[in-house]
Symmetry: C2
Subunit: 205 residues, 2 copies
């Protein structure tokens, strides 16, 4: 057994949550280090690219969320071994990172007018483009999961993103946008959300 | 043999060039479709996430440059099979995509003062952070290549980025920044650049 420590911020979402879920689903023990936001400024420059998540494996560190997702996906059999299915899984994760970065860049804006302008532009352009394409991929790849006809780390990545979009926590982006643009992604969200191990994860004390 | 078509813009760099190089190095025939910039607006909305490169494999399409790099890396034996070495390869490619996106966002800016301000901020912050870390990784991972002690798609991705940084084509970013911050990355650049198949690629008629 490898000694694993996953370091990320102290909230159940974002770039670190899919790897936490994958490790839990795979039944692999790991240290779940959660950084309070007031400790981040002192820690930031010690991180490889000044960002989280990072994963320590027997004392050696890797960073970059999708790199970590793929690595823990391999450990937990939540990443396809077939090269084409692996590519379908990768594409979805890379796409979510793309659009997620565009949304992330508006999170800490202090100019409210500019934030509104950028969020509305995302709602009227890129976000529907990504939702539509992901919905089409879901259908083309078998209808239930994004790759390999089973749950993979791609499904966990989509699940966390869709939950964020529907949360109502993004001002100027309608929480019903997913329902309007890509109802199959709501069904996919509910499919993952009702997975016994996902329910168990969020019911932990 | 699979039927491969790689579609990207008509220049020898950016997000599409590492996959072209990998396929050439691996001796795998592919259709190298190059889109003239005046044809891009009409084509853009037909692409999965309105971006290039895309790779067609026996008529099925994948997008996202690092997804494509990994897939062609598997076809050409330029991607590690060991999970940890694969993670080291992935991390470098994802990191370059991160910093590359930050530079890309300034490429088409029309406000010259704003472009200067952002480029100087990149030169004085994020770019050296990435260069220093990549140089450290190169040393830690064996000194010559970024993963698996041999040339992988990670090396091709770094090679194209370092060439861009040193090209003199980025106003307000010194073409000697790499030499100043991370001289081992210049040596790595020269190592890849003197690879017989890389020389052969750029000497094609």
């Amino acid at each position: 057994m490898k000694n694993l420590k996953l370091t990320y911020f102290d909230f159940p979402g974002g770039r670190g949550e899919p790897a936490r879920l994958a490790l839990f689903l795979g039944g692999i023990d790991f240290e779940d280090q959660r950084i309070p936001s007031d400790q981040w400024p002192a820690l930031k420059t010690q991180m490889p690219f000044h960002a989280l998540p990072v994963l320590e494996v027997d004392g050696k560190t890797i960073s970059q969320c999708n790199t970590i997702n793929r690595y823990v996906g391999r450990l937990t059999d939540l990443y396809p071994t077939d090269p084409w299915q692996a590519a379908l899984c990768d594409e979805v994760m890379d796409a979510i990172e793309d659009i997620g970065q565009q949304i992330f860049s508006t999170l800490f804006m202090t100019d409210e007018d500019e934030k509104k302008r950028l969020r509305e532009a995302l709602e009227n352009g890129p976000i529907p483009v990504y939702l539509n394409r992901l919905q089409a991929y879901l259908s083309e790849h078998g209808g239930e999961y994004f790759a390999d006809n089973r749950l993979t780390v791609a499904d966990l990545k989509v699940y966390i993103w869709i939950r964020h979009l529907r949360s109502g926590n993004l001002d100027y982006i309608s929480p019903t946008l997913v329902e309007q643009c890509a109802p199959l992604l709501v069904k996919h969200f509910e499919r993952v959300n009702s997975h016994a191990r996902i329910i168990a994860y969020y019911q932990r004390p």
